[in-house]
């Protein structure tokens, strides 16, 4: 499997935090790499290992799962479950000889547009280096 053949970063964004942070980044005209594709989810806990792995299978170069700050999830444990799944997916990637750093969990608040942009830029750098 050729990793990252189309250089895209898939960001699964919780509609209560990360999706709003991304909107805010746009409103503030903070430019970020154009290879990010945002998939809106009701809670980071909706994202399963399946979705993360399929993103790579479809050619993504990096995957971000973005949810609320720990302790601030409306669904109590959604972001914690997402964090565990990201770890699990990273372990699976390493097992098949891929780079586990290509999938990351990010916790942010809806008003932290800068954090969203930084996370996306960091991932873009991460991909470039490899």
């Amino acid at each position: 499997m050729s990793v990252g053949r189309d250089n895209r970063i898939i960001a699964f964004c919780c509609e209560k935090s990360a999706y709003l942070a991304a909107d805010r980044a746009g409103r503030m005209r903070l430019c970020y790499p154009d290879n990010v594709r945002i998939i809106r989810v009701p809670c980071a806990g909706r994202v399963g290992t399946l979705h993360i792995l399929r993103a790579f299978e479809e050619g993504a170069a990096g995957v971000l799962v973005m949810g609320c700050q720990e302790g601030a999830c409306q669904h109590l444990t959604g972001n914690l479950r997402a964090r565990d799944r990201v770890r699990y997916a990273a372990a699976l990637l390493r097992e098949v000889g891929m780079d586990g750093e290509r999938v990351k969990m990010v916790n942010l608040a809806p008003d932290t547009a800068e954090k969203f942009v930084r996370a996306v830029k960091d991932m873009a750098e991460e991909i470039k280096e490899r």
Partner: protein, 545 residues
């Protein structure tokens, strides 16, 4: 399907709309692509209405600003036009595309719209229906919070039933002697509230009663109560815990134990109520605070109130030993000032004082951090350090409803700032002392907040549900209980289908739509319409192609 593009009044200059609409029209299943300047204005609504009504489309894609801004508006519009709102898919080409880059983003915008089209193809309608909810509210606990809540809800026309474990209402109001700093004393406050409740037809009071079991969900909880040895069940739309707190004498780091001369605040209050029963008037009374628990908001308020009451009723000298006096509640700073003015002496210590009994008196030795000297006090009574703990039965009641608690055992689910009085279970609320160290002003805030939430939920008498938006495929379900354990809202139950078959059942009323169950189900038996695996993967598959 129909596609509506909006160029936001021509301001999205880095997107070539004519190129996009030309390319999209060629896609399979696309009936038309409409480019508008302002979908969110009346003109845009007219465009959508006329095209939906005139052309034969069964679903639509809107590519415009963030759905956070106008999604609700279009959902209402589409529903009015007779199309199921779940058949609307959205592409955010303003905030997350045009505005996030200065260069030409036509290709990115097209890809975002194609992702939305990919998802739209797989969307299925979800029926919306109003279901009746009970307008009767169960309040567990008849202390200040429970009584006040009942009175406030009654003003809005909601019926309440107060279930109180004790034989009388009032809770901790019965144990207080003075509310200095407030215009009204505890006994007067209690009698006013009792009169209001007695005269109120909407409020029913069951004393010496307990909650034994709860079934069902918001709008129709079925609660089993036990009263006078008999159990009976009733239906309620919502449940509020106002179970309060209890106080306990903290374990003290000294050789003395509570007894004749070391007393609790309650003992002191009893003494103040009947001073004639004392053999002789105590000349010195000491209070001690903060020995082992720094979180002493309530004990501090009781100590200040009771110190003032002692000055009023007994005239004894009063000394308060404390670490840092907590004056973080409304009016407590004034209370502290008043106590000092009226001759109450405060001794601040850093290290816990040594205490022992000597000749019928209690001797306290402490190092005053302000004087820098040892202070030795011989007092007739020492009012011991107390701490606030959850009432007995808090845990049992919590587990009955499957709601969480904090590290000290007080009720708290989730984010204390966003949802202070709501539990993770829809229709279950907490107010007042059962949520932690809470003074009357804070409890009143809780009550106001709960009243609004409950009225929004039950006021109209019905609530709109999305029928089977999240659904279990009973053939695939292996009844492994994974989803039931994972659901943060207690919305899933096991249903017996036949003698040898069980399956999970999701309540549309209690579901909050997070999709955690769909992600954890090992059998992939749970589908979440709008965010199903197929629909999310359809978005993924379009990316980069």
């Amino acid at each position: 399907m129909g596609i509506f593009l909006c160029d936001c009044g021509g301001s999205l200059k880095n997107i070539d709309f004519s190129k996009i609409s030309g390319d999209l029209e060629k896609l399979e299943g696309v009936a038309f692509v409409d480019v508008s300047h302002s979908l969110c204005l009346e003109e845009g609504e007219r465009t959508i209405s006329s095209r939906i009504l005139s052309e034969d489309i069964d679903r639509l894609v809107i590519a415009a600003c963030s759905p956070e801004l106008h999604e609700r508006k279009f959902v209402t519009l589409v529903e009015k036009l007779g199309l199921n709102p779940n058949l609307l898919s959205w592409a955010n080409i303003r905030e997350q595309c045009s505005w996030s880059l200065e260069d030409d983003v036509t290709e990115k915008a097209k890809e975002l719209i194609r992702m939305a089209i990919g998802k739209a193809r797989l969307l299925r309608p979800v029926e919306r229906r109003g279901v009746p909810v009970s307008r009767q509210v169960l309040i567990v606990g008849g202390g200040f919070s429970g009584m006040k809540l009942a009175i406030e809800l009654s003003k809005l026309g909601l019926g309440t039933t107060i279930v109180e474990r004790e034989s009388i209402l009032g809770g901790k109001l019965n144990e207080a002697e003075g509310f200095y700093g407030l215009e009204i004393g505890p006994r007067r406050m209690l009698s006013l509230m009792m009169t209001a409740i007695e005269e109120d037809k909407n409020v029913e009071v069951l004393t010496s009663a307990e909650v034994r079991g709860v079934r069902g969900e918001v709008g129709g909880f079925e609660v089993t109560m036990k009263r006078a040895g008999e159990e009976h069940s009733r239906g309620f739309g919502a449940i509020v815990f106002a179970t309060g707190y209890r106080t306990e004498i903290s374990p003290q780091n000294s050789e003395i134990r509570p007894g004749v001369n070391v007393i609790s605040h309650l003992d002191l209050v009893e003494m103040l109520r009947a001073p004639e029963r004392l053999e002789r008037r105590p000349s010195i009374i000491g209070f001690i605070l903060d020995v082992c628990d720094e979180n002493s908001r309530l004990p501090t308020i009781s100590a200040l109130n009771n110190a003032l009451a002692v000055r009023d009723k007994l005239g004894s000298e009063v000394y308060v030993f404390c670490r840092n006096l907590k004056v973080d509640s409304e009016g407590v700073e004034e209370l502290y000032g008043e106590a000092r003015e009226r001759g109450v002496v405060f001794v601040k210590f850093d290290e816990a004082p040594q205490m022992h009994c000597d000749d019928g008196q209690v001797v306290i030795e402490a190092r005053d951090v302000l004087l820098g000297e040892e202070v030795v006090l011989r007092c007739d009574f020492l009012v011991a350090d107390e701490r606030a703990l959850p009432s007995e039965g808090t845990k049992a009641l919590g587990s009955m409803l499957n709601v969480g608690s904090d590290s000290q055992g007080f009720y708290q689910d989730g984010n204390v700032h966003l949802y202070p009085v709501a539990s993770a279970r829809k229709g279950v609320f907490f107010v007042g002392g059962c949520r932690g160290n809470m003074d009357l002003a804070r409890a009143s805030n809780d009550i106001a907040s709960a009243v609004m939430s409950i009225y929004a939920l039950l006021g109209p008498g019905e609530t709109v549900i999305e029928v089977e938006k999240v659904k279990v495929d009973r053939d695939k379900c292996r009844a492994c209980l994974t989803c039931i354990r994972a659901c943060p809202h207690g919305a899933i139950q096991l249903l017996r289908l036949s003698a040898d078959k069980e399956a999970a059942q999701i309540s549309d009323l209690a579901c909050d739509g997070c999709g955690i169950c769909a992600a954890v189900c090992p059998a992939k038996a749970i589908s979440f319409e709008g965010y199903s695996d197929e629909q999310m993967l359809a978005e993924l598959e379009t990316i980069g192609k």
